[in-house]
């Protein structure tokens, strides 16, 4: 049982080391994250900074999923070529995902890493959560 409780403590430390920001579904299934500031990060970062990051992410995802002339054109063109065009061309969504990855990298380097936090790309978790990993609290 002793090992068990050690594992539990490790688990608890691990839990405390990650903060998850959930999706905001008020506008439907478009990818948006909640901008509510989690209290675990109060000591680490500025509320404004956090909101700015999440808001930019939200805007980028909105841009990726935008339904408009260009996305319809891309869809129709792809359909006419039996979707083989995507072998040569990147989809608009993939282009924006690259932008997002770059943005997250930038934010980590400039803002979060100096404060001992690591922002993970939500695409790795199926666009379900944005997680902040606290670097210092490791077991």
């Amino acid at each position: 049982m002793a090992t068990h409780s050690l594992q539990d403590m490790r688990q608890q430390a691990a839990i405390a080391a990650k903060v998850f920001i959930q999706r905001d579904y008020t506008n439907g299934t478009v990818c948006q994250f909640q901008t509510k500031f989690p209290s675990e990060l109060e000591t680490r970062i500025d509320k404004q900074q956090f909101e700015e990051t999440v808001r930019t992410l939200n805007n980028l995802y909105a841009e990726a999923e935008k339904l408009g002339g260009s996305s319809y054109l891309e869809g129709c063109l792809a359909c006419l070529t039996a979707y083989t065009i995507f072998l040569c061309m990147e989809t608009h969504y993939e282009k924006v995902l690259k932008k997002i990855a770059k943005f997250i990298q930038e934010q980590n380097d400039k803002i979060y890493a100096p404060r001992g936090l690591l922002l993970t790309d939500p695409i790795e978790r199926g666009l379900r959560v944005v997680s902040f990993r606290k670097q210092c609290d490791s077991h």
Binding site: S5, D8, M9, Q11, Q12, A14, I15, A16, A17, K18, F20, Q22, R23, Y25, T26, N27, G28, T29, Q34, K36, P38, S39, E40, A64, E65, K66, L67, S71, Y72, E74, G75, C76, A78, C79, A82, Y83, T84, F86, L87, T91, H92, Y93, E94, L97, I123, E124, R125, G126, L127, R128, V129, S131
Partner: protein
């Protein structure tokens, strides 16, 4: 691609077989006596149908990666915090999160297999053993789930197959009529006996495929999924309306068919050593190597459903594993903890908005009451399996 691939091979056989017979027996006559454009158009249509079929079968429908242990534990703690102390012997309340979407309250259910609260419109497919985003249905004819990423290919497949079937059937009739005019009906039957069994197949599949296309056109115009239609989620009971619909048929169609090409969330690449995880954590998925031309990248053969959960490198068994392993839900999970019988969602479920749950969790997490930390019980999949995933195909 799912485990049971038998029906998919049947689909391939029927389409390729029917078209081959058409090209072999009827096209030469029609090309000479009517127009060479007829077989040319038939070939183009055939290739489009095959492209859409293979694309639907071999593309990721929008599988949601399972929660990493940290996230799973975090969610469990949130749930514990929300539910508070459940007296011994009492069933804990069902795991539901209520969210408001466009003014409508939607219940998000917890998936015991994937350890996540499923996003709206996602559902767990028991055959593929994955949660799929915007889950429509599991189609045995294409051997895959139909979800967010491959719905448009599925729709185009059924649409083009309807056109192909109608085209072949029409020209079969034209061919028989033309020959009969020249040489008499009985002689025509004797000359070309091979096509008639397939004409019969054509006739029956025509009704089912056209019916299916019509049904999906109806669903697209309302921005509904087959799953929602079967469950009657937005059928008007209690005055609930579909919160995802744009209330405009054109907008709904455009969103579903011409919307952005959504990305894959996770892939598992097969290499000589074993499954290699590209991003996130490995989870078992059934797929076979697909033709590179139509779906980039190719998906490898993955095997045991649970093997990857514990960082084992499973022994690769190839896609040649026969479909005799037909039990769709093999119970290989080692459950060491009590099950949470939580599959029902009664109306008096305790509503909890996501952020208030988080707020509770924050307050509770450093609490000393957890001398014995609640280990999240490993619930088994049968408490959460979504029944009747296989669509009511209007087919045979």
């Amino acid at each position: 691609m799912a485990r049971q691939k038998g029906v998919f091979y049947l689909t391939l056989f029927l389409i390729v077989g029917t078209c081959s017979l058409f090209f072999a027996f009827e096209c030469p006559y029609l090309a000479i006596h009517l127009s060479p454009a007829i077989p040319v158009f038939a070939i183009l249509l055939f290739f489009f149908v095959m492209a859409m079929l293979l694309r639907t079968s071999f593309s990721d429908p929008g599988v949601l990666p399972r929660a990493l242990p940290e996230e799973a534990t975090f969610i469990e703690m949130e749930i514990e915090a929300t539910n508070g102390n459940v007296p011994a012997g009492q069933r804990p309340p069902p795991r539901i999160r209520n969210v408001q979407i466009n003014g409508q309250i939607v219940k998000l259910k917890y998936c015991y297999t994937c350890k996540i609260f499923r996003p709206p419109r996602a559902s767990h497919c028991s055959i593929c053993d994955n949660c799929v985003d915007r889950f429509d249905h599991h189609c045995p004819w294409v051997g895959n789930c139909v979800g967010k990423r491959n719905y448009r290919y599925f729709y185009l497949f059924t649409l083009s197959l309807s056109l192909l079937t109608i085209y072949i059937f029409t020209f079969n009739i034209v061919h028989v009529v033309m020959r009969s005019v020249n040489s008499g009906f009985v002689k025509t039957l004797q000359d070309t006996p091979g096509t008639y069994p397939f004409m019969l197949v054509c006739f029956f599949t025509l009704w089912s495929v056209v019916g299916l296309t019509g049904f999906h056109t109806y669903l697209i115009s309302l921005n509904q999924t087959t799953n929602e239609d079967i469950k009657g989620s937005w059928s008007g009971k209690n005055r609930v309306q579909n919160p995802y619909s744009h209330k405009n048929i054109i907008n709904n169609c455009c969103e579903v068919l011409c919307g952005p090409a959504y990305p894959r969330y996770c892939t598992v690449l097969y290499c000589a050593v074993g499954p290699l995880v590209l991003c996130g954590h490995a989870y078992p998925r059934y797929c076979i190597v697909g033709p590179l031309v139509l779906c980039a990248p190719a998906y490898p053969s993955v095997l045991d459903r649970r093997g990857l959960m514990r960082d084992d490198l499973p022994v690769p068994t190839s896609a040649a594993e026969p479909a005799t392993n037909s039990n769709p839900v093999p119970q290989t999970t080692k459950t060491t903890a009590p099950l949470i019988p939580n599959e029902h969602t009664p109306d008096d479920a305790k509503p909890s908005m996501a952020d208030s749950a988080i707020a509770h969790a924050e307050k509770r997490s450093p609490s000393p009451r957890e001398e014995k930390l609640p280990i999240p019980p490993l619930a088994s999949p049968e408490t959460d399996a979504e029944a009747s995933i296989i669509a009511k195909d209007k087919a045979l």
